[in-house]
């Protein structure tokens, strides 16, 4: 366990070292860039709020990825589920004007979960019924979601003005802010609750037991009377619903309206964060804070030092690649003489 965490941390360090090399080669100072990034991420309460605000949607998508993964499925379409969920929440937020706040928020969240779940149901159904590989279908449906919502905010739901966005949602549908003026909202509480819930469902419930059995050995699960197809569909629906809720949180808590292209790839971040977090919910939460810090700190870094923000995405990709093959890290460790860690 300690070793596993060590390998993850080493992968992160390696990514930062590689990033530093790229920065130096392209004429920037890694120390300046990284320290600006650190200050931007954790320097004061505002920046901590911003970091947590960025970490929140990534935790949602990480939980979504993780839930499906534990059930033996690759849901790499959390991006689309998040966006569809966001749109559904925005629509409910706008149309049910006049509802009392708690009911309005609950309804909007529910809409997001249902829409995301539906977006997860399609690939699940196609996998169960026709054997269509979910890796490709979830990804393709992400693109469909992006274009579909883009159509909606460009045509039927477009608010007056040049920007492709909806009108703002009323106060009654807004999640309260925490650590104002940062963008952190009560969506954070929701995701922390989901972290605990996911852990509990997977570890302690009959459903979680069956899903994990299915993920680890579908043939044995089937033989034990577990309905594998039903489990598969349920897993992706829940996974999609979690991602959808993440989208709701962004709309109801951060943007307060649906803006075309509001997600800078939270879905892919979720995959990375789930892996860096060692494929368990709590680990994912901490990894999400790291990635959130990269994003919020990255913006400050760009403003202060002029380093292009994309170095942040490069760093994230490098973390994934190093985490992808723990055997590689172990081999590197062995070669460098740290034998006991490599075993």
């Amino acid at each position: 366990m300690v070793k596993a965490v060590f390998v993850q941390i080493l992968a992160i360090l390696l990514a930062f070292v590689t990033g530093a090399i790229v920065l130096s080669l392209t004429g920037y100072s890694p120390t300046l860039a990284y320290s600006a990034m650190y200050r931007g991420a954790f320097g004061n309460m505002y920046s901590i709020g911003q970091t947590l605000a960025k970490a929140t949607p990534i935790t949602f998508t990480a939980l979504a990825f993780l839930f499906a993964f534990k059930s033996g499925l690759f849901n790499i379409g959390a991006e689309g589920q998040l966006i569809i969920g966001a749109m559904a929440s925005a629509v409910v937020g706008i149309s049910f004007n006049g509802l009392p706040a708690p009911a309005h928020i609950a309804l909007a969240l529910l809409a997001g979960a249902v829409a995301g779940g539906l977006w997860g149901f399609i690939p699940a159904f196609l996998r169960a019924k026709y054997g269509a590989h979910e890796v490709i279908t979830t990804m393709m449906l992400s693109y469909v979601a992006i274009y579909l919502t883009s159509y909606m905010v460009n045509y039927p739901l477009k608010a007056p003005g040049w920007v492709a966005q909806t009108v703002p949602i009323p106060e009654s549908a807004r999640l309260p802010r925490i650590l104002s003026p940062s963008q952190l909202s009560a969506s954070l509480y929701l995701v922390v609750l989901l972290v605990v819930l996911t852990e509990y469902v997977l570890r302690r419930t009959v459903l979680g037991f069956e899903l994990r059995a299915t993920g680890l050995n579908p043939d044995a699960a089937e033989n034990a009377g577990i309905n594998v197809n039903r489990g598969m569909i349920l897993a992706l629906v829940i996974s999609g619903a979690i991602a959808g809720l993440g989208g709701s949180g962004e709309i109801l808590g951060v943007h307060r309206r649906f803006i075309d292209g509001f997600s800078p790839g939270y879905g892919w971040d979720g995959l990375a964060v789930a892996l860096v977090g060692g494929l368990n919910p709590v680990g994912a939460f901490f990894a999400a804070i790291l990635f959130g810090a990269l994003r919020s700190g990255g913006m400050v870094m760009t403003r202060v030092t002029g380093v292009p923000l994309d170095i942040v995405f490069l760093l994230q990709a490098l973390v994934i690649l190093f985490v992808a093959a723990p055997k590689m890290i172990r081999t590197l460790l062995k070669r460098s003489g740290l034998k006991w860690l490599g075993s």
């Binding site: 009959v206 037991f209 069956e210 699960a221 089937e222 033989n223 034990a224 009377g225 577990i226 309905n227």
Partner: protein, 505 residues
Amino acid sequence: MVSAVVMRGVTKTFPGVVANDHVDFSAETGEIHGLLGENGAGKTVLMSILYGLYRFDEGAIIIDGEEVEVDSPSTAMRLGIGMVHQHFMLVPSLTVAENIILGREPIKNGVFLDTERMLRDVGEFCDKYRLDVDLEAPVHTLSVGVQQRVEILKALYRGADVLILDEPTAVLTPQEVDELFKAIRALREEGKTVIFISHKLREVLAICDRVTVLKKGRVVGTVDASETDQGRLAEMMVGREVVYTFDKDYCEAGEPVLVVEGLEALDDRNLQALRGVELEVCASEILGIAGVEGNGQTELIETLMGLRKPTAGKILLNDSEITTLPPGERIRAGISHVPEDRHKRGIVSDFSVMENLILGSHRNTEFTQWGQVLDLAKASSYSDKLIEDYSIDTPSKKTLARNLSGGNQQRLVVAREFSREPKLIIAAQPTRGLDVGATEYVRRKLLEMRDQGCAVLLLSADLDEIWAISDRIAVIYEGRIVATRDPKETSEQELGLLMAGGRDD
């Protein structure tokens, strides 16, 4: 004269197991040398080392008088060593000829595969060894016996002078075995050395010139086949007199528990696998189903468990029809299943022993609170009891099942399935890969369950096993039950003939 193969002091350990312990082995040119031992005695490991699939920890290999380094199968082939594995190493979609030349392809114009030369060369080869096969047929269309012939040709084509056959008869009918033995003798005439791995005494005595016996990774001895007999070989193999007949009490069979009528089903390739199976298993009875592998046994089990949809027919359990019930409800109706491949269907390797023990019963009210939450305390005490009752050797109930030995994994499956108070047990190859002790344990347990009134359907490729504990024996051939016999009134010859599709008259 120098020996064709000498292995000296070969030791090979795997984590936790010594597979070969200072093994000395030699085979002469032009002899058929038997390598005899129980499952897990280290026969296959020893020969895999000779063939370059494994590397020994210490020892030496001497081929034709010269010490050599065998680091890969290609090196082994260059040294004239060929091996036919238990699981065939043939690429299903490629043709016979392509499989034979794979890795040493004839080339024309520098880059292209020379198909004509390929067919000519391989054809000449078949003629030379009088092994007849259709060279342009894709391998997946061939019968098992023919595929084995292709494997032998493949090894010979690669210039094998020493041919290792790993349990070659396991998948053959008695008649196909005769064919194989003829071919092996013909190879001896050609001056080839054949190493014949087996755990079947009778076969080893029938075909081999000399026999080396392995037990728990060590050599017990090497003897001339003409100077020994089954009893003595058996004693060397297991270290004590083997009980040929398993003493069991007679038990009065009760009412029919499982009734199968006209059951038909397709296999994974959508070919007819079951062609109208008729079966009846009664309470307090073990019905053994004998048959060569691949005659519909797997499909029969899966259809009975609800893992495969029948295309026709009926399945009745205690007079109520279960033909369309899903697996979960069949389990609740009282069917237990010891699967033929425990890794595939029996256990979840990355689940703990405890999780594996409640798998399938996990929805029982016994293990849940409010129907949806697992009661870990109850699951835990239940696991402790089963681990104790079935002597599962595990460091703790939290140990992952993958870390148990094969025998203990099987005990785990047996413990889980037998503790559900089943009305019917479907046991498929329940002792495959187990040592003598574990085998005896599982068989005793099956008899115990029978004595308690359980109906048992036993499927095994091992005729001795069927023989040992069945109250009635049914023979399955090409998806049909072709005969049912009382073990006291039949002979091994008769069953062998039935298994090979001989007429029942």
